[in-house]
Protein backbone atom coordinates (compact mmCIF):
# COMPACT_ATOMS: atom_id res chain seq x y z
CA UNK A 1 0.00 0.00 0.00
CA UNK A 2 1.19 3.42 -0.92
CA UNK A 3 0.34 5.69 1.99
CA UNK A 4 2.02 8.89 0.99
CA UNK A 5 1.74 11.50 3.69
CA UNK A 6 1.16 15.11 2.85
CA UNK A 7 4.49 16.03 4.33
CA UNK A 8 6.34 13.71 1.97
CA UNK A 9 4.34 15.02 -0.94
CA UNK A 10 6.81 17.58 -2.08
CA UNK A 11 6.11 19.52 -5.19
CA UNK A 12 9.47 20.16 -6.66
CA UNK A 13 10.52 23.52 -7.93
CA UNK A 14 9.79 23.93 -11.58
CA UNK A 15 12.88 23.21 -13.56
CA UNK A 16 14.13 25.98 -15.78
CA UNK A 17 13.27 24.99 -19.31
CA UNK A 18 16.03 25.65 -21.76
CA UNK A 19 16.22 29.21 -22.97
CA UNK A 20 15.43 28.25 -26.51
CA UNK A 21 12.06 26.78 -25.68
CA UNK A 22 11.15 29.61 -23.32
CA UNK A 23 11.82 32.25 -25.93
CA UNK A 24 10.14 30.42 -28.79
CA UNK A 25 6.92 29.77 -26.91
CA UNK A 26 4.67 27.84 -29.28
CA UNK A 27 1.56 29.13 -27.57
CA UNK A 28 1.81 32.83 -28.08
CA UNK A 29 -1.18 34.05 -30.00
CA UNK A 30 -2.92 30.66 -30.16
CA UNK A 31 -5.81 29.46 -28.09
CA UNK A 32 -8.58 31.99 -28.64
CA UNK A 33 -11.80 30.29 -27.52
CA UNK A 34 -15.22 31.60 -28.55
CA UNK A 35 -18.56 30.25 -27.42
CA UNK A 36 -21.47 31.62 -29.41
CA UNK A 37 -24.93 31.07 -27.89
CA UNK A 38 -24.06 27.58 -26.76
CA UNK A 39 -26.88 25.48 -25.34
CA UNK A 40 -26.84 21.83 -24.32
CA UNK A 41 -29.67 19.54 -23.28
CA UNK A 42 -29.93 16.09 -21.79
CA UNK A 43 -32.70 13.54 -21.84
CA UNK A 44 -35.59 12.65 -24.09
CA UNK A 45 -37.84 15.14 -25.86
CA UNK A 46 -40.46 16.54 -23.51
CA UNK A 47 -38.48 15.72 -20.39
CA UNK A 48 -35.33 17.51 -21.31
CA UNK A 49 -33.00 19.00 -18.78
CA UNK A 50 -31.21 22.12 -19.86
CA UNK A 51 -27.56 21.56 -19.02
CA UNK A 52 -26.42 24.83 -20.47
CA UNK A 53 -28.54 27.71 -21.69
CA UNK A 54 -27.36 30.20 -24.28
CA UNK A 55 -23.82 30.85 -23.08
CA UNK A 56 -21.60 33.22 -25.02
CA UNK A 57 -18.06 33.72 -23.90
CA UNK A 58 -14.79 34.91 -25.34
CA UNK A 59 -11.52 33.67 -23.87
CA UNK A 60 -8.45 35.47 -25.17
CA UNK A 61 -5.33 33.59 -26.19
CA UNK A 62 -3.18 33.02 -23.14
CA UNK A 63 -5.92 33.93 -20.70
CA UNK A 64 -6.64 31.96 -17.54
CA UNK A 65 -10.39 31.72 -17.00
CA UNK A 66 -12.03 29.99 -14.07
CA UNK A 67 -15.59 28.72 -14.44
CA UNK A 68 -17.31 28.86 -11.08
CA UNK A 69 -20.73 27.71 -10.02
CA UNK A 70 -22.75 25.50 -7.71
CA UNK A 71 -23.00 21.84 -8.58
CA UNK A 72 -25.45 21.13 -11.36
CA UNK A 73 -24.91 24.50 -13.03
CA UNK A 74 -23.38 22.99 -16.15
CA UNK A 75 -19.71 23.80 -15.53
CA UNK A 76 -18.56 20.39 -16.68
CA UNK A 77 -20.95 20.45 -19.62
CA UNK A 78 -19.41 23.74 -20.70
CA UNK A 79 -15.97 22.17 -20.56
CA UNK A 80 -17.11 19.02 -22.37
CA UNK A 81 -18.54 21.10 -25.17
CA UNK A 82 -15.26 22.99 -25.61
CA UNK A 83 -13.37 19.70 -25.44
CA UNK A 84 -15.59 18.28 -28.19
CA UNK A 85 -16.90 15.38 -26.10
CA UNK A 86 -20.48 16.63 -26.33
CA UNK A 87 -21.86 18.53 -29.30
CA UNK A 88 -23.69 21.72 -28.34
CA UNK A 89 -27.43 21.48 -28.91
CA UNK A 90 -27.39 24.98 -30.34
CA UNK A 91 -24.68 27.49 -31.05
CA UNK A 92 -21.05 26.71 -31.72
CA UNK A 93 -17.58 26.72 -30.25
CA UNK A 94 -14.58 28.05 -32.11
CA UNK A 95 -10.92 27.71 -31.24
CA UNK A 96 -8.77 30.11 -33.23
CA UNK A 97 -11.61 30.50 -35.67
CA UNK A 98 -12.10 26.78 -36.33
CA UNK A 99 -15.36 25.18 -35.21
CA UNK A 100 -14.96 22.42 -32.62
CA UNK A 101 -16.45 19.15 -33.84
CA UNK A 102 -14.47 16.52 -31.98
CA UNK A 103 -11.83 16.18 -29.23
CA UNK A 104 -8.28 16.97 -30.23
CA UNK A 105 -4.76 17.39 -28.85
CA UNK A 106 -4.97 21.18 -29.22
CA UNK A 107 -7.49 21.02 -26.31
CA UNK A 108 -6.57 18.23 -23.88
CA UNK A 109 -8.48 17.81 -20.63
CA UNK A 110 -7.12 17.29 -17.13
CA UNK A 111 -9.86 15.36 -15.33
CA UNK A 112 -10.75 15.30 -11.67
CA UNK A 113 -9.32 11.85 -11.00
CA UNK A 114 -8.81 8.31 -12.28
CA UNK A 115 -8.12 9.32 -15.84
CA UNK A 116 -4.61 7.91 -16.16
CA UNK A 117 -4.37 4.61 -18.01
CA UNK A 118 -3.79 2.06 -15.22
CA UNK A 119 -1.96 -0.28 -17.60
CA UNK A 120 0.71 2.27 -18.46
CA UNK A 121 3.54 3.61 -16.34
CA UNK A 122 3.64 7.33 -15.57
CA UNK A 123 6.10 7.78 -18.43
CA UNK A 124 3.95 5.90 -20.95
CA UNK A 125 0.89 7.82 -19.85
CA UNK A 126 2.63 11.09 -20.64
CA UNK A 127 4.14 9.68 -23.83
CA UNK A 128 0.71 8.56 -25.04
CA UNK A 129 -0.41 11.90 -26.47
CA UNK A 130 3.03 12.42 -27.99
CA UNK A 131 2.78 9.07 -29.77
CA UNK A 132 -0.69 9.93 -31.01
CA UNK A 133 0.52 13.24 -32.40
CA UNK A 134 3.57 11.66 -34.02
CA UNK A 135 6.30 13.18 -31.89
CA UNK A 136 9.73 11.80 -32.92
CA UNK A 137 10.95 11.07 -29.37
CA UNK A 138 7.88 10.58 -27.18
CA UNK A 139 9.58 8.90 -24.22
CA UNK A 140 12.29 11.50 -23.95
CA UNK A 141 9.85 14.38 -24.16
CA UNK A 142 7.54 12.64 -21.65
CA UNK A 143 10.45 12.36 -19.23
CA UNK A 144 11.12 16.08 -19.54
CA UNK A 145 7.53 16.97 -18.74
CA UNK A 146 7.43 14.60 -15.78
CA UNK A 147 10.57 16.37 -14.58
CA UNK A 148 8.79 19.71 -14.85
CA UNK A 149 6.05 18.56 -12.50
CA UNK A 150 8.68 17.15 -10.14
CA UNK A 151 8.08 13.49 -10.88
CA UNK A 152 11.37 12.47 -12.49
CA UNK A 153 11.79 9.81 -9.79
CA UNK A 154 8.60 7.89 -10.45
CA UNK A 155 8.53 7.59 -14.24
CA UNK A 156 8.34 3.79 -14.09
CA UNK A 157 5.55 3.56 -11.55
CA UNK A 158 2.02 2.58 -12.40
CA UNK A 159 -0.80 4.95 -11.41
CA UNK A 160 -1.93 2.77 -8.50
CA UNK A 161 1.54 3.18 -7.03
CA UNK A 162 1.19 6.97 -6.96
CA UNK A 163 -0.63 9.22 -4.49
CA UNK A 164 -3.65 11.19 -5.66
CA UNK A 165 -1.61 14.36 -6.01
CA UNK A 166 1.09 12.62 -8.02
CA UNK A 167 -1.54 11.13 -10.31
CA UNK A 168 -2.93 14.59 -11.01
CA UNK A 169 0.56 15.87 -11.77
CA UNK A 170 1.05 13.05 -14.25
CA UNK A 171 -2.31 14.01 -15.75
CA UNK A 172 -1.14 17.62 -16.01
CA UNK A 173 2.17 16.57 -17.59
CA UNK A 174 0.28 14.38 -20.05
CA UNK A 175 -1.87 17.29 -21.15
CA UNK A 176 1.00 19.80 -21.29
CA UNK A 177 3.31 17.46 -23.21
CA UNK A 178 1.29 17.72 -26.42
CA UNK A 179 1.86 21.51 -26.29
CA UNK A 180 -1.80 22.42 -26.50
CA UNK A 181 -3.08 25.88 -27.28
CA UNK A 182 -5.90 25.44 -24.77
CA UNK A 183 -5.73 23.52 -21.51
CA UNK A 184 -9.08 22.35 -20.18
CA UNK A 185 -9.23 21.47 -16.49
CA UNK A 186 -12.29 19.89 -14.91
CA UNK A 187 -11.99 20.32 -11.13
CA UNK A 188 -8.51 18.82 -11.39
CA UNK A 189 -7.67 19.34 -7.73
CA UNK A 190 -11.16 18.74 -6.38
CA UNK A 191 -10.41 15.29 -5.02
CA UNK A 192 -7.16 16.23 -3.29
CA UNK A 193 -6.65 17.13 0.34
CA UNK A 194 -6.38 20.84 1.14
CA UNK A 195 -2.58 20.92 1.52
CA UNK A 196 -1.85 19.08 -1.71
CA UNK A 197 -4.42 21.19 -3.51
CA UNK A 198 -2.61 24.40 -2.56
CA UNK A 199 0.73 23.04 -3.75
CA UNK A 200 -0.83 21.91 -7.01
CA UNK A 201 -2.33 25.36 -7.60
CA UNK A 202 1.06 26.98 -7.11
CA UNK A 203 2.75 24.52 -9.42
CA UNK A 204 0.11 25.02 -12.09
CA UNK A 205 0.57 28.79 -11.95
CA UNK A 206 4.34 28.52 -12.25
CA UNK A 207 3.97 26.35 -15.35
CA UNK A 208 1.29 28.57 -16.82
CA UNK A 209 3.26 31.76 -16.28
CA UNK A 210 6.04 30.27 -18.35
CA UNK A 211 3.93 28.95 -21.21
CA UNK A 212 0.76 30.99 -21.17
CA UNK A 213 -1.57 28.45 -22.65
CA UNK A 214 -5.16 29.47 -22.59
CA UNK A 215 -6.69 27.75 -19.55
CA UNK A 216 -10.35 27.05 -18.86
CA UNK A 217 -10.48 25.83 -15.28
CA UNK A 218 -13.71 24.50 -13.79
CA UNK A 219 -14.06 24.67 -10.02
CA UNK A 220 -16.60 25.17 -7.26
CA UNK A 221 -13.96 26.67 -4.95
CA UNK A 222 -14.04 30.48 -4.84
CA UNK A 223 -10.52 30.81 -3.40
CA UNK A 224 -9.13 28.55 -6.07
CA UNK A 225 -10.84 30.59 -8.81
CA UNK A 226 -9.49 33.91 -7.48
CA UNK A 227 -5.99 32.62 -6.84
CA UNK A 228 -5.59 31.20 -10.34
CA UNK A 229 -7.65 33.15 -12.82
CA UNK A 230 -7.58 36.37 -14.79
CA UNK A 231 -11.35 36.29 -14.99
CA UNK A 232 -13.95 34.27 -13.13
CA UNK A 233 -17.01 33.19 -15.06
CA UNK A 234 -19.99 32.48 -12.80
CA UNK A 235 -22.62 30.09 -14.09
CA UNK A 236 -26.11 30.34 -12.65
CA UNK A 237 -28.72 27.71 -12.08
CA UNK A 238 -32.18 27.18 -13.53
CA UNK A 239 -31.62 28.22 -16.19
CA UNK A 240 -27.94 27.41 -16.42
CA UNK A 241 -26.85 30.68 -17.88
CA UNK A 242 -23.90 32.93 -17.60
CA UNK A 243 -24.49 34.76 -14.34
CA UNK A 244 -21.55 37.12 -14.55
CA UNK A 245 -17.92 37.58 -15.46
CA UNK A 246 -15.69 39.00 -12.75
CA UNK A 247 -12.17 40.19 -13.61
CA UNK A 248 -9.51 39.40 -11.03
CA UNK A 249 -7.25 42.44 -10.82
CA UNK A 250 -4.65 41.02 -8.51
CA UNK A 251 -1.01 41.37 -9.55
CA UNK A 252 0.89 38.36 -10.82
CA UNK A 253 2.72 36.32 -9.80
CA UNK A 254 -0.04 35.52 -7.38
CA UNK A 255 0.83 34.98 -3.76
CA UNK A 256 -1.08 33.47 -0.87
CA UNK A 257 -0.75 36.62 1.20
CA UNK A 258 -2.92 38.50 -1.30
CA UNK A 259 -5.80 36.90 0.54
CA UNK A 260 -5.57 39.46 3.31
CA UNK A 261 -5.89 42.43 0.94
CA UNK A 262 -9.21 44.26 0.69
CA UNK A 263 -9.26 43.79 -3.09
CA UNK A 264 -9.25 40.04 -2.55
CA UNK A 265 -11.94 40.27 0.09
CA UNK A 266 -14.20 42.32 -2.17
CA UNK A 267 -13.78 39.82 -4.97
CA UNK A 268 -14.49 36.97 -2.64
CA UNK A 269 -17.64 38.57 -1.25
CA UNK A 270 -18.89 39.48 -4.70
CA UNK A 271 -18.44 35.91 -5.97
CA UNK A 272 -19.76 34.44 -2.75
CA UNK A 273 -22.99 36.45 -3.03
CA UNK A 274 -23.51 35.41 -6.64
CA UNK A 275 -22.93 31.75 -5.91
CA UNK A 276 -25.13 31.94 -2.84
CA UNK A 277 -28.01 33.45 -4.77
CA UNK A 278 -27.68 30.78 -7.39
CA UNK A 279 -27.51 28.01 -4.85
CA UNK A 280 -30.60 29.38 -3.06
CA UNK A 281 -32.62 29.04 -6.25
CA UNK A 282 -32.55 25.31 -6.03
CA UNK A 283 -33.71 25.65 -2.44
CA UNK A 284 -37.50 25.57 -2.22
CA UNK A 285 -40.04 27.30 -4.52
CA UNK A 286 -40.18 30.82 -5.90
CA UNK A 287 -36.62 31.10 -7.13
CA UNK A 288 -36.89 34.20 -9.32
CA UNK A 289 -35.13 37.06 -7.52
Amino acid sequence: METMSVARERVAVVREPDAERASASPHSGRGHVELRSVSARFGRAGREVIALGDVSLDVAAGEFVAVLGPSGCGKSTLLNVIAGFEPPGEGSVFVDGTAVTRPGPDRPVVFQQHSLFPWMTALDNVAFGLRMTGHPAPRQRAGEYLGMVGLADVVDRYPHQLSGGMQQRVGLARALAVEPSVLLMDEPFGALDAQTRVLMQEQLLRLWERWRHTVVFVTHDIDEAIFLADRVVVLGQKPNRLRGVVPVDLPRPRRRDQRITSAYQQLYDQLFEQIREESLRTFGPGGEP
Binding site: R157, P159, Q161
Partner: protein
Protein backbone atom coordinates in the same frame (compact mmCIF):
# COMPACT_ATOMS: atom_id res chain seq x y z
CA UNK B 1 4.83 -20.02 4.91
CA UNK B 2 3.34 -22.11 7.74
CA UNK B 3 -0.06 -21.40 6.35
CA UNK B 4 1.01 -22.72 2.91
CA UNK B 5 2.38 -25.89 4.47
CA UNK B 6 -0.87 -26.33 6.33
CA UNK B 7 -2.85 -26.08 3.11
CA UNK B 8 -0.64 -28.63 1.38
CA UNK B 9 -1.02 -31.13 4.24
CA UNK B 10 -4.80 -30.77 4.21
CA UNK B 11 -4.87 -31.12 0.43
CA UNK B 12 -2.78 -34.31 0.53
CA UNK B 13 -5.09 -35.56 3.27
CA UNK B 14 -8.05 -35.19 0.93
CA UNK B 15 -6.31 -37.18 -1.80
CA UNK B 16 -5.32 -39.88 0.74
CA UNK B 17 -8.95 -40.15 1.85
CA UNK B 18 -10.08 -40.60 -1.75
CA UNK B 19 -7.48 -43.35 -2.31
CA UNK B 20 -8.49 -45.13 0.91
CA UNK B 21 -12.19 -45.03 0.05
CA UNK B 22 -11.39 -46.20 -3.47
CA UNK B 23 -9.32 -49.14 -2.19
CA UNK B 24 -12.10 -50.21 0.17
CA UNK B 25 -14.71 -49.90 -2.56
CA UNK B 26 -12.56 -51.91 -5.01
CA UNK B 27 -12.27 -54.72 -2.44
CA UNK B 28 -15.97 -54.66 -1.83
CA UNK B 29 -16.82 -54.78 -5.56
CA UNK B 30 -14.27 -57.56 -6.09
CA UNK B 31 -14.19 -57.20 -9.89
CA UNK B 32 -11.07 -55.44 -11.23
CA UNK B 33 -12.76 -54.92 -14.61
CA UNK B 34 -15.49 -52.83 -13.02
CA UNK B 35 -13.33 -51.09 -10.43
CA UNK B 36 -9.62 -51.85 -10.24
CA UNK B 37 -7.73 -50.97 -7.05
CA UNK B 38 -5.53 -47.85 -7.17
CA UNK B 39 -2.44 -50.10 -7.15
CA UNK B 40 -3.55 -51.62 -10.46
CA UNK B 41 -3.39 -48.15 -12.00
CA UNK B 42 0.29 -47.99 -11.17
CA UNK B 43 0.95 -51.06 -13.35
CA UNK B 44 -1.19 -49.58 -16.10
CA UNK B 45 0.75 -46.34 -15.96
CA UNK B 46 4.12 -48.14 -16.14
CA UNK B 47 3.03 -50.23 -19.13
CA UNK B 48 1.67 -47.30 -21.12
CA UNK B 49 4.76 -45.27 -20.35
CA UNK B 50 7.02 -48.19 -21.30
CA UNK B 51 5.49 -48.73 -24.75
CA UNK B 52 5.40 -44.93 -25.26
CA UNK B 53 1.72 -45.10 -26.20
CA UNK B 54 0.76 -42.72 -23.38
CA UNK B 55 3.19 -40.06 -24.54
CA UNK B 56 1.89 -40.33 -28.11
CA UNK B 57 -1.72 -40.01 -26.97
CA UNK B 58 -0.97 -37.03 -24.73
CA UNK B 59 0.90 -35.31 -27.57
CA UNK B 60 -1.96 -35.95 -29.99
CA UNK B 61 -4.55 -34.51 -27.61
CA UNK B 62 -2.40 -31.50 -26.68
CA UNK B 63 -1.78 -30.68 -30.31
CA UNK B 64 -5.53 -30.67 -31.05
CA UNK B 65 -6.33 -28.55 -28.01
CA UNK B 66 -3.66 -25.98 -28.76
CA UNK B 67 -4.66 -25.69 -32.39
CA UNK B 68 -8.35 -25.31 -31.63
CA UNK B 69 -7.68 -22.99 -28.70
CA UNK B 70 -5.45 -20.68 -30.72
CA UNK B 71 -7.93 -20.69 -33.59
CA UNK B 72 -10.77 -19.79 -31.24
CA UNK B 73 -8.89 -17.12 -29.28
CA UNK B 74 -7.51 -15.41 -32.35
CA UNK B 75 -11.03 -14.97 -33.69
CA UNK B 76 -12.97 -14.43 -30.44
CA UNK B 77 -10.83 -11.61 -29.01
CA UNK B 78 -10.74 -9.41 -32.14
CA UNK B 79 -14.42 -10.07 -32.78
CA UNK B 80 -15.33 -9.02 -29.24
CA UNK B 81 -13.29 -5.80 -29.56
CA UNK B 82 -14.80 -5.03 -32.93
CA UNK B 83 -18.31 -5.62 -31.61
CA UNK B 84 -17.75 -3.24 -28.69
CA UNK B 85 -16.19 -0.43 -30.67
CA UNK B 86 -18.50 -0.67 -33.68
CA UNK B 87 -22.14 -0.62 -32.57
CA UNK B 88 -23.96 -1.88 -35.69
CA UNK B 89 -21.80 -5.00 -35.72
CA UNK B 90 -23.01 -5.74 -32.21
CA UNK B 91 -26.61 -6.05 -33.37
CA UNK B 92 -25.60 -8.37 -36.19
CA UNK B 93 -23.25 -10.64 -34.28
CA UNK B 94 -24.73 -11.01 -30.81
CA UNK B 95 -28.07 -12.67 -31.76
CA UNK B 96 -26.26 -15.22 -33.93
CA UNK B 97 -23.88 -16.11 -31.12
CA UNK B 98 -26.69 -16.23 -28.55
CA UNK B 99 -28.34 -18.81 -30.78
CA UNK B 100 -25.23 -20.95 -31.27
CA UNK B 101 -23.98 -20.82 -27.70
CA UNK B 102 -26.40 -23.30 -26.07
CA UNK B 103 -25.22 -26.06 -28.43
CA UNK B 104 -22.76 -28.11 -26.37
CA UNK B 105 -19.44 -28.88 -28.08
CA UNK B 106 -20.26 -32.61 -28.04
CA UNK B 107 -23.31 -31.95 -30.23
CA UNK B 108 -20.95 -30.61 -32.89
CA UNK B 109 -19.01 -33.91 -33.06
CA UNK B 110 -21.27 -35.73 -35.57
CA UNK B 111 -21.33 -32.79 -37.96
CA UNK B 112 -17.58 -32.31 -37.49
CA UNK B 113 -17.02 -35.95 -38.57
CA UNK B 114 -19.31 -35.43 -41.53
CA UNK B 115 -17.45 -32.34 -42.63
CA UNK B 116 -13.89 -33.28 -41.79
CA UNK B 117 -13.76 -37.09 -41.59
CA UNK B 118 -11.72 -38.75 -38.86
CA UNK B 119 -8.39 -37.60 -37.44
CA UNK B 120 -7.18 -34.23 -36.25
CA UNK B 121 -9.47 -31.91 -38.12
CA UNK B 122 -12.82 -32.66 -36.47
CA UNK B 123 -11.04 -32.31 -33.11
CA UNK B 124 -9.63 -28.92 -34.12
CA UNK B 125 -13.15 -27.84 -34.93
CA UNK B 126 -14.74 -29.11 -31.72
CA UNK B 127 -12.01 -27.73 -29.43
CA UNK B 128 -12.28 -24.37 -31.19
CA UNK B 129 -16.04 -24.28 -30.69
CA UNK B 130 -15.58 -25.18 -27.02
CA UNK B 131 -13.01 -22.43 -26.40
CA UNK B 132 -14.66 -19.75 -28.50
CA UNK B 133 -17.63 -18.88 -26.32
CA UNK B 134 -15.94 -18.40 -22.96
CA UNK B 135 -13.17 -16.35 -24.60
CA UNK B 136 -15.63 -14.25 -26.58
CA UNK B 137 -18.02 -13.60 -23.72
CA UNK B 138 -15.30 -12.61 -21.25
CA UNK B 139 -13.59 -10.38 -23.80
CA UNK B 140 -16.90 -8.73 -24.61
CA UNK B 141 -17.62 -8.09 -20.94
CA UNK B 142 -14.10 -6.73 -20.41
CA UNK B 143 -14.16 -4.41 -23.39
CA UNK B 144 -17.67 -3.20 -22.57
CA UNK B 145 -16.54 -2.24 -19.08
CA UNK B 146 -14.00 0.24 -20.42
CA UNK B 147 -14.00 3.51 -18.46
CA UNK B 148 -15.63 6.35 -20.38
CA UNK B 149 -13.05 8.69 -18.88
CA UNK B 150 -10.16 6.65 -20.31
CA UNK B 151 -11.77 6.85 -23.74
CA UNK B 152 -12.18 10.60 -23.38
CA UNK B 153 -8.62 11.07 -22.14
CA UNK B 154 -7.34 9.14 -25.15
CA UNK B 155 -9.55 10.96 -27.63
CA UNK B 156 -8.51 14.39 -26.43
CA UNK B 157 -4.88 13.31 -26.92
CA UNK B 158 -5.65 12.62 -30.56
CA UNK B 159 -6.41 8.88 -30.51
CA UNK B 160 -8.53 7.66 -33.42
CA UNK B 161 -10.69 4.54 -33.58
CA UNK B 162 -7.84 2.08 -34.14
CA UNK B 163 -5.65 3.64 -31.47
CA UNK B 164 -8.55 3.45 -29.02
CA UNK B 165 -8.92 -0.26 -29.78
CA UNK B 166 -5.26 -1.00 -29.32
CA UNK B 167 -4.37 1.30 -26.43
CA UNK B 168 -7.60 1.57 -24.46
CA UNK B 169 -10.17 -1.14 -25.24
CA UNK B 170 -7.68 -4.00 -25.45
CA UNK B 171 -5.68 -3.26 -22.28
CA UNK B 172 -8.92 -2.52 -20.40
CA UNK B 173 -10.29 -5.86 -21.49
CA UNK B 174 -7.10 -7.89 -21.01
CA UNK B 175 -7.74 -9.11 -17.46
CA UNK B 176 -11.19 -10.33 -18.53
CA UNK B 177 -9.76 -11.72 -21.75
CA UNK B 178 -7.33 -13.70 -19.69
CA UNK B 179 -10.08 -15.11 -17.49
CA UNK B 180 -11.84 -16.14 -20.69
CA UNK B 181 -8.67 -17.80 -21.99
CA UNK B 182 -8.33 -19.80 -18.77
CA UNK B 183 -11.92 -21.03 -18.95
CA UNK B 184 -11.67 -21.55 -22.70
CA UNK B 185 -8.57 -23.70 -22.44
CA UNK B 186 -10.26 -25.83 -19.79
CA UNK B 187 -13.35 -26.26 -21.96
CA UNK B 188 -11.19 -27.05 -24.94
CA UNK B 189 -9.31 -29.71 -23.03
CA UNK B 190 -12.56 -31.37 -21.96
CA UNK B 191 -13.92 -31.16 -25.49
CA UNK B 192 -10.91 -32.83 -27.09
CA UNK B 193 -11.46 -35.97 -25.04
CA UNK B 194 -15.11 -36.00 -26.04
CA UNK B 195 -14.24 -35.61 -29.69
CA UNK B 196 -11.57 -38.30 -29.59
CA UNK B 197 -13.97 -40.85 -28.09
CA UNK B 198 -15.59 -41.13 -31.51
CA UNK B 199 -13.81 -38.99 -34.05
CA UNK B 200 -10.13 -39.96 -33.78
CA UNK B 201 -7.73 -42.89 -33.69
CA UNK B 202 -5.28 -41.39 -31.25
CA UNK B 203 -5.33 -39.17 -28.20
CA UNK B 204 -6.43 -39.66 -24.64
CA UNK B 205 -10.12 -39.93 -25.49
CA UNK B 206 -9.41 -42.62 -28.03
CA UNK B 207 -7.13 -44.41 -25.56
CA UNK B 208 -9.86 -44.50 -22.91
CA UNK B 209 -12.43 -45.82 -25.34
CA UNK B 210 -10.06 -48.43 -26.81
CA UNK B 211 -9.11 -49.76 -23.38
CA UNK B 212 -12.72 -49.91 -22.30
CA UNK B 213 -13.50 -52.13 -25.27
CA UNK B 214 -10.47 -54.30 -24.46
CA UNK B 215 -11.54 -54.49 -20.78
CA UNK B 216 -8.24 -52.89 -19.69
CA UNK B 217 -10.00 -50.90 -17.01
CA UNK B 218 -6.84 -49.78 -15.14
CA UNK B 219 -5.68 -48.07 -18.33
CA UNK B 220 -9.03 -46.33 -18.65
CA UNK B 221 -8.40 -44.85 -15.23
CA UNK B 222 -4.82 -43.96 -16.16
CA UNK B 223 -6.17 -42.01 -19.13
CA UNK B 224 -8.68 -40.19 -16.92
CA UNK B 225 -6.02 -39.39 -14.36
CA UNK B 226 -3.67 -37.96 -16.98
CA UNK B 227 -6.50 -35.81 -18.33
CA UNK B 228 -7.11 -34.50 -14.81
CA UNK B 229 -3.45 -33.74 -14.09
CA UNK B 230 -2.83 -31.96 -17.40
CA UNK B 231 -6.03 -29.93 -17.02
CA UNK B 232 -4.99 -28.84 -13.53
CA UNK B 233 -1.49 -27.96 -14.75
CA UNK B 234 -2.93 -25.74 -17.49
CA UNK B 235 -5.04 -23.81 -15.00
CA UNK B 236 -2.13 -23.47 -12.61
CA UNK B 237 0.28 -22.25 -15.28
CA UNK B 238 -2.11 -19.65 -16.66
CA UNK B 239 -2.82 -18.44 -13.14
CA UNK B 240 0.90 -17.87 -12.60
CA UNK B 241 1.30 -16.18 -15.96
CA UNK B 242 -1.45 -13.72 -15.06
CA UNK B 243 0.64 -11.98 -12.41
CA UNK B 244 3.47 -11.51 -14.92
CA UNK B 245 1.28 -10.19 -17.70
CA UNK B 246 -0.60 -7.59 -15.65
CA UNK B 247 1.94 -5.74 -13.51
CA UNK B 248 -0.45 -2.81 -13.10
CA UNK B 249 -2.90 -4.98 -11.17
CA UNK B 250 -0.24 -6.11 -8.73
CA UNK B 251 -1.24 -3.86 -5.84
CA UNK B 252 0.94 -3.14 -2.89
CA UNK B 253 4.44 -3.45 -4.32
CA UNK B 254 6.40 -0.24 -4.21
Amino acid sequence: MRRAAHTVVLGLGGVALLLAAWTLAARRVGDPILLPAPTALWDGLRETLADASLGRDVAASLKRVLFGFVLASSTAVPLALAVVSFRPLRHVVLPVLALLRPIPPIAWVPIAILWFGLGDRPSYFVTAVAAFFPVFISSLAGASAVEEQHLRAARCMGAGRLALLRFVYLPSALPSVFTGLKVGLGQSWMAVVTAELVAAQSGLGYMIELNRVQLETPRVFVGMLVIAVIGALMTFTLGRAEALIFPWRDKGTT
